[in-house]
Amino acid sequence: MTEIGITLAKGFFFIFIFVFGTAALLTWVERKQSAVMQDRIGANRASIFGLRIFGLFHIIADSLKMFVKEDFTPAGAERVLYSIAPGITMFFALVAFAAIPFADKLIIGGHEFVMQIANLNVGILYVFAVMSMAVYGVVLGSWASNNNYSLIGGLRATAQMISYEVAIGVSIIGVLLVYQTIDLQEIVRAQGALLGGWLPQWGILYQPIGFLLFLTTGIAETKRIPFDVPEGESEIIGYHLEYSSMRFGMFFLTDLIETVLIASITVTLFLGGWQFPYLMPDGFHFPWGGTIALSNLSVTILQFLTFTIKVSVLLWFMMIIRWTLPRFRYDQVMFLGWKILLPVALANIMITAAVIAFL
């Protein structure tokens, strides 16, 4: 019983505070960052008692607008599926966070709490299984809206997901070969080891091509520009064409949650997860001698902060990419997925395996 309570508490903290908070903040970051990149100021008008704080109230204003708008259901729509489809996508996007390690063990009164909602020993498989389920919501929603353009968007989403699930699955095998485990917490722990006594053994060091492949396919998984063919603002409006009010908001938020998810997985696999350089479970151990002893609580908080900062930097980078590159055409997306990313990922596995076998 207490275990369920602990899991629920962890789930509440990590999903409802960390993930939802980050995703909500991303709506603001997206507008503001694109504005700064394009020599503009960006949304700054929403205010409470004349207080504007850089337009942060636009998050509240947007969500309020979403909630009070008309919730439209088109004639001839499959009502049940149409209603639950946004929930399905969002559910699977959120559930994938269960296996993400946010920090190492926290010890309170002799009890060990792993800072991970579910400590699965097949973590990475679980994450990818759940992530590929998220496309069901998109397809069901697009089909249930009884609109041809929606359906085209849904079909494109399916095609893109299938193409890139293959490449994304293959691109991480290199990491799994290097660290010899599929437990995400173990992968992160292994990345804390120092190479030559001073260089943190992060995944990007061993798998630079894998990192590039994973980030590319990961951005494709989020269905955002430059891989936004399922949405295709400028041609078909996309799988959420008929959706309005908060149901559309859920689709919109799911995109951002998936962005956070991809950033989290990338950090976990390639950028050392919650590992801060030279931070051991009992404090800092610098390679040039000298130690700073820290309590378990402060180490855990530092690890969580490290993870958050790494994810934020990666999210910033993904936003830069989203506002820099033009979108790919549908055939270019397919070409890139099947003819470039997949062969390169396979070659990456071969080379990694050969190097590991002969060293």
């Binding site: 700064v36 990149m37 020599d39 503009r40 100021i41 830069i320 590159l325």
Partner: protein
């Protein structure tokens, strides 16, 4: 010559698409960090010169209009305050949108025979072509009020009456002064002449 012959075939490194992505990212990141730096400086009050954005914060700060911009109409007055309009119907005739409605009245004086009893402009129909201003022989109608916010909640409110048109005043402060504009265009001509001479020198 075939257009495609002008271009060299791409090398393998170029065909990976990565160097071009990197170039693009460098440009956007440069803008991002430069603007963020100037925003921060402006926020702490160090540097007010460079705003880091080209935005005009519209309701508080107005972008200066070009001197020839056509804004909301107004009717001019004589020295005694009566409307300059003589109800000659030139503007009503020339109006391509048929949005002007004039009812003429008789004046007692001999030299100016008519005056407008009604002078209505339906802004819902007006296309802001400015033909009425050009057609007017008496300089009685002008479009220099600087008012561009003409939205209203009903079609009835879009109709401007004579009294409203007479009450409007010109707002020169909303417009760029003509001499500033001439200066700007002169410098632009100078600059293009300089670039031409430098191009010729090469």
């Amino acid at each position: 010559m075939n257009v495609h012959d002008k271009y060299k075939p791409l090398t393998f490194w170029e065909r990976t698409y990565l160097p071009r992505i990197w170039d693009g990212l460098v440009i956007t990141m440069r803008h991002f960090f430069r603007n963020l730096w100037h925003f921060t400086l402006a926020r702490v009050g160090v540097d007010r010169e460079w705003k880091g954005a080209v935005t005009f914060q519209y309701p508080e700060v107005r972008r200066p209009f070009h001197p020839r911009l056509r804004t909301l109409h107004r009717l001019t007055r004589r020295e005694d305050g009566s409307p300059r309009c003589v109800a000659c119907m030139m503007c009503e005739t020339v109006c391509p949108a048929k949005c002007i409605y004039i009812v003429a009245g008789q004046r007692p004086e001999k030299e100016i025979e008519k005056y407008p009893v009604r002078f209505d402009i339906d802004l819902g129909m007006c296309i802001f072509c400015g033909y009425c201003v050009e057609a007017c022989p008496e300089d009685a109608i002008r479009m220099d009020t600087g008012i561009i916010e003409i939205a209203s909640y009903s079609r009835k409110d879009m109709i401007l009456t004579k009294e409203r048109l007479l009450s409007l005043e010109p707002r020169t402060e909303y417009y760029t002064a003509r001499k500033d504009l001439e200066l700007a265009s002169k410098s632009r001509i100078l600059m293009s002449a300089e670039s031409e001479t430098s191009a010729a020198a090469h």
